[in-house]
Symmetry: C2
Subunit: 213 residues, 2 copies
DNA sequence: GTATGTGAACCACTTCACAGCA
DNA sequence: TGCTGTGAAGTGGTTCACATAC
């Protein structure tokens, strides 16, 4: 039955869900692919096609019920439950991640934090006690996590990822500046602002000679 | 002369550059597209095709000179000079960005930080004095910046982006969870870990019934 | 012998355009 | 009438495969 769904489609669904959540909070009952697309910078056809992979959620002539479609997307994406995460690497970046208030409200809970640095181990950071990295496996055995967050220096990142994968972690959010290798059944997303900057400069450079004003 | 270069190609170049920099530091003189691809999880043909948009940098039968190709890429991307950035939004996230040590070594310097919160204005954060958001325009007039970093709450982000664009900023690194609108000559990249998590859960969800071990 | 550079073939995603339904 | 759902057409990016050069 399952026609393969393109990854790009999956990547867009959370964007749709977020926009719908906002509309919903504003009391909006119905929205068309046209309007949703305008808000998100996506073509209406794109939205309709994306949604059509999962079902028929709209009403012809009217549009989509905001709460209904939102609920459907949350279910499709698995956002209707809580997901547990462990953080490895509690340096400056790791601390910022622990302090970040954007995960919990979306159902992503950090249940453990690990670091190799003796000075860091045992510290209380944002309500989490930093555990020795050596205890990663033992800890995950008693209390499995769905997702691993990697915020170690580049040099340790691949090894940490291998260990997480070895513990059965199936998804990794990687903040380390490396192109990591993972087996095919493991999903990984990189967060790398430097790469984003370094590609934008290409266009900045070209524009220097082309004044806009 | 200029055949349009796909954006995806530009996005990959910094990845290549980073890998080459590592090889270079390790004293590696020559590398093949084959080997570079294996390291990065990219096909050799992809790498060769990408590079072919910009010139002929390799030697048949040998491969690419690591320092030579690295230098070419740095030049193509504009990484051979310093870029200035201003940060808007000095909350928890903004502070983490100011404290982040990964920008400066790559030539990205934050020259100004702005916030609307009276309690935050005037504070010294990581060597930068937080200026009132109201002074954004005046400050950028005397000291222009190439790139704007947006780390405000979602509600203010679009407005802040509009102001940055109005000041002539041509590239934006957006940490706010919104789908921002910018004119076509402005480049924007979103950093949004929550979206990354929310798309990975789709696959986690599907795997729950498919045991691997 | 070996690895590049590149047209051509292929594939995947996007957009079109319209039938169908509210 | 208005907007969805969707095959079909179109577009853009990737991979192939080989002539070419070292």
């Amino acid at each position: 039955m399952p026609i393969e769904i393109p990854d790009v489609v999956i990547d867009r669904l959370p964007v749709y869900a977020r926009a719908l959540a906002l509309l919903d909070r504003n009391g909006r009952a119905v929205v068309s692919s046209q309007e949703l697309g305008a808000q998100l910078g996506v073509t209406p056809a794109q939205i309709r096609k994306d949604l059509s992979y999962f079902g028929r959620f709209g009403k012809q002539g009217r549009g989509y019920s905001v709460p209904r479609l939102l609920e459907e997307l949350r279910q499709i994406l698995g956002l209707d439950r809580e997901w547990t995460m462990v953080l490895v690497g509690v340096g400056q970046l790791g601390r910022a991640i622990l302090a970040y208030g954007g995960f919990a409200p979306q159902g992503f809970r950090i249940i453990g934090a690990f670091d190799a640095e003796p000075a860091t181990i045992g510290q209380q950071v944002n309500g989490a006690r930093v555990q020795p990295a050596s205890e990663l496996e033992a800890s995950l055995r008693t209390r499995p996590a769905d997702i691993g967050i990697v915020a170690t220096p580049a040099a340790q990142a691949q090894q940490v990822i291998d260990r997480l994968v070895g513990c059965g972690v199936k998804a990794i959010l990687n903040y380390a500046p490396i192109a990591a290798h993972v087996p095919p059944h493991v999903h990984i997303k990189d967060i790398d602002p430097v790469l984003s900057l370094q590609s934008m400069t290409f266009y900045l450079k070209s524009q220097l000679t082309a004044p806009v004003k």
